[in-house]
Amino acid sequence: MLGRIFTEFFTLVETEFGDDMLDDIIEDATLPNEGAYTALGNYDYLELLRLVTALSEHTHIGVSDLVKIFGTFLFKRLVLIYPNFTENKDDCFEFLSSIDTIIHVEVKKLYPNASLPKFDTSIQEDTLVMIYQSDKNIPDLAEGLIIGAGQYFSENLIINRRLLDDHATEFRITR
């Protein structure tokens, strides 16, 4: 998993829960690099899950909710860092449909080693069906990102999700 995701998670923890909380969860998660992440690196995604689990224990907020919150936060940050991906996109559906075909193609150019999830999309009237596929399988993160996109484009989205198997989740997004 790209280091950028880790550093953004740290930013979230620092701003929402304070520096001490970050120290504590790093300590609890017992990480191989003692929590020294850089945005350019590549790290095991299980380390992120350990950090989230530690945060959940300290805050008594469920892991699933925390990951969704992080996803929403991450979307806002990514828009700031890579503004060109949301440029020329008129609405949320247009943006979500472009993730696989445009955004991830560009991400691959920047990070040839990145292993990225797949987002197959199809639009039926006012519903967008998205099949999220990833060997890491973190549908909560995907949902958080979708929520973030809805907020960015100021659209009220109703998100229904259904687990297809161990690696795939279907999202039905209606506006």
């Binding site: 001490d20 790093i26 690099n33 850089t38 945005a39 350019l40």
Partner: protein, 445 residues
């Protein structure tokens, strides 16, 4: 200083954070350096690629520019070459029309001569385009080398005499077998080379030496050398010889005529037959063009040593005898072409009915009986393809011979003729002997 436990804890915390940040910075720096190195190498590679591509593009550009110029020159040259015999044909026709009948024969003979030159130029262009598109094929058939040489001798006799040159043909004696190869193309090569020699030789000789290189039961290897005492060429000129569209000097074509394709075509033919034309020349000392070819051989079964030569009109009369009263439907839209074809056929005593287009032909077919149809391809109202398709749909006419007659002599057009069900193909301008022979062949007489 008195440190409390709380201060101590704070200190440890800050140290840990500092340590974490340092580690992260180090990792980031390493990654950055690695990326910079990658970028630097990529950049080097890119610069090299850009340089190479630019060079390649420049080379291609120069080549394209040269090709464009050469083609433009070629078209200008062709136009000039076509106009020269055209000028003779038009001028002599006008003169002939205003002359008494007894003077007209000379004009007509010269018009026929100029028309032959025009056809030769067009054939050169056609051969060349076939070669360029890779569609040129060599026919393999048994032939008698004596016939080829005899043909050539007759062809050049008048010009050689007229220019006061001598033409010596030396050939290996006792060639009492047939060679397997493309005699038409071999003749074309020899005519081309001898023609060049005659063109560039003002006095002295032109020699055709054919010598035996090797021979066994199955195969013979012959060397053909054409030598002259003409103006010769320097090395620069020789280098340009076999390039498309170039004569040794473009001003030469103005002085000596010719499509500038003869040598390219000849070289290609020789290559297709497994040889290569080599040029040896010196300014003012003449030129020699030579090539070596291998042929499979077959013993002569009949004695060809003293064949009876027949004139064209005798040959035509012979074929015509078997075709007397054959009913021909001639489908042709141009009045001039109607006149030429129908007169050739009527002279040979065939019955000719003329239709102006495919539709008229269909109407005539309903009420009359014909032995064969000669069908132009491009016609108004209904063309030859369409008409043939309709005729073939009627089972009554499934085996009626339909011979295409067209000025479109590309392979594509010939293939299309075959596709729609035509039986054979005659190229315009019409050679009367060939036309009658094809009719005879199709009627199985």
């Amino acid at each position: 200083m008195n440190m409390t436990v709380e201060d101590d804890n704070l200190d440890i915390k800050w140290r840990k954070r500092l340590y974490r940040e340092r580690l992260a910075r180090q990792a980031a720096e390493e990654l950055l350096e690695e990326k910079s190195r990658e970028l630097y190498l990529l950049n080097l590679d890119l610069e090299k690629q850009v340089k190479q591509r630019t060079h390649e593009l420049n080379v291609a550009l120069v080549k394209a520019e040269v090709a464009v110029k050469v083609k433009a020159d070629f078209i200008a040259n062709m136009s000039h070459e076509i106009r020269t015999p055209m000028n003779a044909i038009i001028g002599l026709s006008l003169l002939g029309m205003n002359s008494p009948v007894d003077k007209q024969y000379d004009y007509l003979r010269n018009i026929a001569g100029a028309s032959e030159s025009l056809l030769a130029i067009l054939n050169d262009i056609l051969d060349f385009s076939k070669i360029e598109s890779g569609n040129m094929k060599i026919e393999l058939d048994y032939f008698n080398l004596d016939d080829v040489i005899e043909n050539i001798t007759i062809l050049f006799t008048e010009e050689i005499r007229h220019k006061g040159l001598t033409l010596n043909i030396v050939q290996p004696i006792n060639l009492n077998f047939l060679l397997k190869g493309d005699s038409l193309r071999l003749k074309q090569i020899l005519i081309n080379l001898i023609n060049n020699s005659v063109k560039f030789t003002q006095k002295g000789f032109v020699n055709l030496d054919i010598s035996l290189i090797s021979q066994n039961e199955k195969e013979i290897q012959l060397n053909f050398a054409i030598k002259d005492s003409g103006i010769g060429m320097n090395e620069e000129q020789q280098k340009l010889l076999f390039q498309s569209f170039s004569q040794a000097d473009t001003s030469i074509s103005r002085r000596f005529g010719g499509s500038g394709l003869g040598l390219v075509i000849s070289q290609k033919f020789v290559e297709l037959m497994g040889g290569k034309i080599i040029c040896n020349s010196k300014p003012d000392f003449g030129s020699e063009f030579s090539f070596t070819l291998s042929f499979e051989i077959k013993k002569l079964e009949t004695d060809f040593s003293n064949p009876i030569k027949k004139t064209l009109s005798e040959l035509i009369a012979e074929v015509a005898k078997s075709l007397e009263n054959t009913r021909v439907l001639l489908v042709e839209d141009t009045p001039l072409s109607q006149q030429v074809a129908s007169q050739f056929l009527r002279n040979a005593k065939l019955h000719v009915t003329v239709a102006d287009n495919g539709k008229e032909a269909l109407a005539l077919l309903e009420k009359n009986t014909f032995d064969i149809i000669l069908m132009d391809v491009q016609m108004p109202v209904m063309d030859g393809f369409e008409a043939t398709k309709i005729i073939r749909k009627n089972s009554q006419f499934a085996h009626l011979p339909i011979i295409a007659m067209s000025a479109g002599v590309t392979l594509d057009e010939q293939e299309k003729c075959q596709e729609v069900g035509m039986s054979d193909f005659i190229a315009k301008p019409i050679n009367p002997l060939q036309m009658l022979e094809k009719i005879k062949h199709k009627l199985r007489i």
